[in-house]
């Protein structure tokens, strides 16, 4: 078990490193940062001077090592745009995105799990098909469009919910709902198929033979087994939700990390972009590891390993 954990950790680190190298290379070879900063009227000398000041004229590997060295000490560089430490920028923007992500996955589970169970209990008939269609439709919705439509309906026409920014907890509802749609189809499908298998299993037949209540059979016996892979998938889906939070944050004007990333890309503030990409990669990798651990923890058969 420990060996497996260590190996996974090492792999995870390597993945993060690779992603880091990729994003570093991307942001340093494309375009010319100094030109962006100096402005359209700057002369060639001032551009060159700026380049030298920022250390952009050194060979790429040297720049990378320098960056990595500083990053190891917690210094992710300075934002060109905001004139503050990148690490500080990220730290202030992360909480919002995280909260959004957690609320979104909670909504997704609250919707997908019961629907998946229901679909499995009605396997093959009208309800199952209807739920399947809803899941497919949810998968086909462009998230930004859904966000805009919800803003129109709930924010303006009905005036129930705020449509921009996050002044209090109600501001999270609409964007989290939109984000939840990313995860709902996968979780629903997995729950449904897991429940279908569980319902047909021998141990559920035994539970029925013991005369247990329907609730006990469906929830205690069937769902417990069907839920094992679902939890793991939910963790990974959270990773996808966070990675795709840009769009929703932009639509709802929420100043999270995704929004920060988008702004920085537009303005060419590449130290920030690099850090944001790395952040999401690290989060994803951590969540995948967590998913593995959760999967093992829930299945008594695997715990012995």
């Amino acid at each position: 078990m420990i060996g497996y954990l260590l190996r996974s950790l090492v792999l995870a680190l390597l993945v993060c490193l690779t992603v880091l190298v990729i994003s570093f290379t991307l942001s340093h070879i494309g375009g010319n940062l100094a030109i962006n900063l100096a402005g359209p009227d700057a002369s060639a000398e001032s551009i060159a001077k700026l380049q030298h000041e920022l250390g952009l004229d050194r060979p790429l590997p040297v720049q990378f090592l320098d960056w990595a060295n500083r990053a190891a000490h917690g210094d992710l560089g300075d934002s060109f745009l905001f004139h503050e430490k990148v690490s500080h920028l990220i730290a202030t923007h992360v909480p919002m995105t995280f909260t959004l992500g957690i609320v979104a996955i909670a909504i997704a589970l609250a919707v997908a799990l019961p629907l998946g169970i229901l679909a499995a209990l009605h396997e093959g008939d009208g309800i199952d098909m209807a739920i399947g269609l809803v899941a497919l439709a949810g998968q086909a919705l462009p998230s930004f469009w859904l966000g805009l439509m919800l803003i129109i309906w709930f924010g303006v026409d009905l005036g129930w919910l705020p449509i921009s920014g996050v002044d209090d907890w109600t501001g999270y509802i609409l964007p989290a709902f939109v984000l939840a749609f990313v995860a709902i189809p996968a979780v629903l499908r997995l729950t449904r198929s897991g429940m279908v298998d569980a319902i047909r299993s021998d141990y559920v037949r035994t539970a029925r033979a013991k005369g247990l209540s329907r609730a006990s059979i469906v929830l205690k016996h069937a769902f417990r087994n069907a839920a094992m892979p679902v939890v793991a998938v939910a963790a990974v889906q959270l990773g996808f939700i966070l990675g795709g939070s840009v769009v929703v944050e932009v639509v709802f004007n929420i100043r999270g990390v995704g929004y920060l990333g988008w702004e920085s890309i537009q303005k060419g503030d590449f130290p920030v972009v690099q850090a944001v990409v790395l952040l999401f990669a690290v989060i994803f990798v951590v969540l995948t590891l967590l998913a593995d651990l959760l999967g093992a923890a829930l299945d008594p058969r695997l715990r012995a390993r």
Binding site: Y203, T206, R208, K210, G211, L212, R301
Partner: protein, 339 residues
């Protein structure tokens, strides 16, 4: 001898296919009734019908299924569920998969008591441990805390038996309980079941394809073929005077050490079990039977040889001239029909 279970004219259909076609049998208190037949003959389906555990798509109907004074056919699913695990219990063939891998043995056992008797957790655990001991499981308290995957097949089947008997049911249905187990363990489990039957006065409906088990455990036997019971008798009668050609064929297929001479062919019944749909009529065995004639395609009468011995065939009880000794060796090149 009181009848605990009386099935009258049970049929089960799966879509167009008729899996069970009008069977009737009785299980009495303290006795074992074996339902024997080859794979696909409908014996498991019959057992599941009694408990109301058929899968989706199955359409059962019966004249009556009397469990004590209650007609199970008339019961709602709710009321039937109350009986299951309490007054009637069932154990299955595959102990490896019949227990929930996510919960401990103790949790799965105690939930039966808590459901049907409202027992407290502690009391239920104590009773579960006691029952485990009774079925021959060593260190019962430790076992309660273990997960199914930590137990061997034989142990798991003992747990299943213990679990089924916790509420002291009147009827136990056992669907091939030893098929998936090692031969040595098989014998132990069968002995255990026999002992429990004596102690508790259990009525047991035992499903099996193994005539050896029938000989060892049964009081009454029903031989099933293609959804019908083709012969029904006490165990002594069945082995002494098997009358239906299928029964004879089955018995002749058992190689007996010492009786089969070297170089002789083993008995077998040519052909395969037919799939029956609801339009079928007549004897299902006629394509494989050496005595078949045209009139076998018409509905076949049930004939009685004695009070408890019935068979479904047009042939006269004395048809072979050889009523005694069901074990017949086969002649080379022929089907296993006695001359």
């Amino acid at each position: 001898m009181t009848a605990v279970l009386e099935i009258e004219d049970l049929s089960v259909q799966f879509g167009a296919q008729a899996a069970v076609r009008g069977i009737s049998l009785t299980v009495r208190r303290g006795e074992t009734h074996c339902l024997v037949g080859e794979s696909g003959c409908g014996k498991s389906v019959s057992a599941l019908s009694v408990m109301g555990l058929l899968p989706r798509g199955a359409r059962p109907n019966a004249a009556r299924i009397m469990f004590g004074d209650t007609d199970l056919c008339r019961l709602s699913e709710r009321r039937l569920a109350r009986l299951r695990g309490d007054r009637m219990a069932m154990i299955f063939q595959e102990p490896m998969t019949s227990l929930n891998p996510a919960y401990t043995v103790g949790s799965q056992m105690t939930e039966v008591l808590r459901r049907h008797r409202g027992t407290s957790r502690g009391e239920a655990a104590a009773r579960a441990a006691a029952m485990l001991e009774r079925v021959g499981v060593s260190a019962p308290e430790m076992r309660l805390g273990q997960f199914p995957h930590q137990l061997s097949g034989g142990l798991r089947q003992r747990v299943m038996i213990a679990m089924a008997l916790l509420c002291e049911p009147e009827l136990l249905i056992a669907d091939e309980p030893t098929t998936a187990l090692d031969v040595t363990v098989q014998a132990q489990i069968l002995r255990l079941l026999a002992a429990l039957q004596r102690e508790l006065g259990l009525a047991v409906l035992l499903i099996t394809h193994d005539l050896g088990i029938v000989a060892r455990t049964a009081h009454l036997v029903s031989v099933m073929y293609a959804g019908e019971i083709v012969e029904q008798a006490t165990v002594a009668e069945l082995f002494a005077a098997p009358t239906h050609p299928y029964t004879r064929g089955l018995l002749a297929s058992i190689p007996v050490p010492g009786k089969v001479r070297r170089g002789e062919r083993l008995g077998s019944i040519p052909g395969i079990v037919p799939t029956i749909d609801h339009t079928f009529s007549g004897c299902a065995f006629r394509d494989r039977c050496a005595q078949a004639i045209n009139s076998c395609a018409a509905p076949v009468p049930v004939r009685e040889m004695s009070n408890e011995h019935r068979y479904r065939c047009r042939l006269d009880p004395a048809w072979s001239g050889q009523n005694r000794c069901g074990l017949v060796t086969a002649k080379a090149g022929s089907s296993s029909r006695p001359p």
